[in-house]
């Protein structure tokens, strides 16, 4: 394959990674932004989403599309409820102390991981995509009669991958609308800006925290459900995803949704392209270097505000 079509193929892979990463990192960033909690267990919520997708799809055992749609609805709900319960039973008792919540979420990480290992096992299991047509993509070349379109062999995308990109975009747009256009968003932002004053003006801050923690986890779970037809569900899949999410959130600026999306596109695309042309290891090395540069030259991240 020529360089051009090859690059397009890599970019599509990168866009899928970026879409899933943006969803997951948005959840991490939301939780940190509102609650000042660094949620180390966030990757496990992603893993739980993927594993539950398999559980739901294989229990229903019906048409793959039906199982998948059911998983898309059920898995984020269950994971969100688990996270909200963890917030009310553990994080609340720690008064959301920044250091102690890190330790607590590390504990949560191992509990979720080991419970999954015990219940689901060490295998990687696939979920059938609801639809998976192959669409051949055209490329342009200079021929005898000027510009011509042709269909290079192997240059194609599946409808499912396009769906993942579109679904992530739609959910992120919905999240943005929720934060900026609704009453729930106003309450969450007020809590983020000054929790004590939020209480003094009748906002039930504890309930807001439980809701935000649940919503953040549900976003990770949704990312997990979307990826499992491409990547398979495995009990250790949360680790890499967590690392990449942290990279995205640090580069984008903690608490900034726009920054998170931009950084996810940057990291996802470069990961896809570098992995295809060079090696996945080099992609991780470059992403980590990027974090180091951001921390040195722009510690608040691309879109974050400097501390007051």
């Amino acid at each position: 394959m020529d360089f051009g079509p090859h690059l397009l193929l890599a970019a599509i892979e990168g866009a899928v990674t970026a879409a899933v990463l943006a969803l997951m990192a948005a959840g991490l960033s939301l939780v940190f932004g509102v609650m000042r909690v660094v949620n180390v267990a966030h990757g496990e919520f992603y893993m739980l989403g993927a594993v539950l997708a398999w559980v739901v799809a294989s229990t229903l055992g019906a048409h793959p599309a039906l199982g998948f749609v059911a998983a898309l609805a059920i898995a984020p709900l269950i994971v969100g409820a688990v996270a909200a319960a963890a917030d009310m039973t553990v994080l609340k008792r720690l008064d959301y102390d920044p250091e102690r919540t890190i330790v607590a979420t590390i504990g949560l990480l191992y509990i979720l991981q080991q419970l999954t290992l015990m219940g689901y096992g060490p295998e990687a299991r696939p979920v059938a995509p609801p639809f998976n047509q192959r669409l051949a993509l055209p490329w342009v070349e200079w021929g005898d009669g000027g510009v011509q379109l042709y269909w290079p062999w192997g240059l194609s995308v599946t409808t499912y991958k396009l769906f993942v990109i579109g679904a992530a975009g739609a959910v992120l747009a919905g999240l943005w609308a929720l934060m900026t256009r609704t009453r729930i968003g106003l309450v969450m932002r007020a809590t983020q800006l000054d929790g004590e004053m939020a209480l003094a003006f009748g906002i039930p801050v504890e309930r807001v925290y439980a809701g935000v923690f649940g919503l953040g986890a549900a976003l990770a779970a949704l990312a997990g459900v979307l990826i499992v037809p491409i990547q398979q569900a495995h009990y250790l899949m949360g680790g890499d995803a967590l690392l990449l999410s942290f990279i995205v959130v640090i580069i984008g600026g903690l608490g900034s949704l726009a920054g998170t999306v931009i950084a996810a596109i940057l990291i996802g695309m470069s990961d896809g392209i570098i992995s295809v042309f060079f090696s996945p290891t080099l992609a991780k090395i470059i992403a980590t270097l990027l974090v180091a540069f951001v921390l040195v030259f722009r510690p608040q991240g691309l879109m974050g505000k400097p501390p007051r």
Binding site: R183, L186, R189, A190, L193, D194, E196, M197, A198, L199, A200, F201, G202, I203, P204, V205
Partner: protein, 231 residues
């Protein structure tokens, strides 16, 4: 009537208030006086339920509000104008007021009335609170508390850092609330302002009430001020 009855409160292991009792009556301005660090702000936070009480109780019209979860306290009609304004800085003027309106919630005409009191805010509804001038920020903090149609209004140093005309504007609003029968608890460092508008004065020292006086008596016996405030 708001009554604090022998309350102990503090921050974690640090006890600040020690058996503090005071009363704020409807249609009266009760002024808290005391040196820096005496516990005036702490008293207001304790009323709002933001600090746990280790002893005593706080009642509003006979209802014990010190056992309520903190977010229920303002719903009983207590408006808080905190020291340093504490606006929701990145939200607009309109959104800050909306949060005040949603507390009970209040009928829409309340907002119209509040904006009549502070016409300068009406022109700046879309502006972010952090970009307002200091005086405008104080107006917004006051307006936010008035949006919940308070029965009790807590004002913690509302004139800090304001020019005389702004102080006068705030004073007029406070006097107007008083005439509408609101119970007002005011922390104020500027004695001339206290002397001209307060009905009762409570002296606080080391988290305890040292003395109570009618403002009229105080005007006759200024040596009390010297004893508790050193002025």
């Amino acid at each position: 009537m708001l009554e604090l009855d022998g309350i102990d409160a503090g921050y974690g292991p640090v006890q600040v208030l020690r058996g503090l009792s005071l009363t704020a009556r409807p249609g009266e301005i009760t002024c808290l006086l005391g040196r820096n660090g005496a516990g005036k702000t702490t008293t207001m936070k304790a009323i709002m339920g933001l600090l746990p009480l280790t002893a005593g109780r706080i009642t509003l019209e006979g209802e014990d509000i010190s056992r309520l979860p903190a977010h229920e306290v303002p719903k009983r009609g207590i408006g808080y104008i905190p020291q340093g304004r504490r606006l929701f800085s990145e939200l607009t003027v309109a959104q800050n007021l909306e949060i005040g309106m949603r507390v009970r919630p209040s009928p829409p005409q309340v907002l119209t009335r509040v904006l009549e009191l502070f016409p300068r805010l009406a022109d700046r509804m879309g502006q972010r609170a952090e970009t307002l001038s200091g005086g405008e920020q104080q107006m917004l903090a006051t307006a936010r508390a008035l949006c919940l149609e308070p029965r009790v209004l807590l004002l913690d140093e509302p004139t800090e850092g304001l020019q005389p005309s702004m102080i006068e504007a705030i004073r007029q609003v406070v006097v107007r609330m008083k005439s509408e029968g609101v119970a007002i608890l005011l922390v104020e460092q500027r004695l001339d302002a206290v002397m001209s508008s307060a009905d009762r004065v409570v002296f606080i020292e080391n988290g305890q009430v040292r003395d109570n006086a009618d403002a009229a008596d105080l005007r006759a016996r200024p040596e009390m001020l010297k004893r508790y405030l050193g002025v």
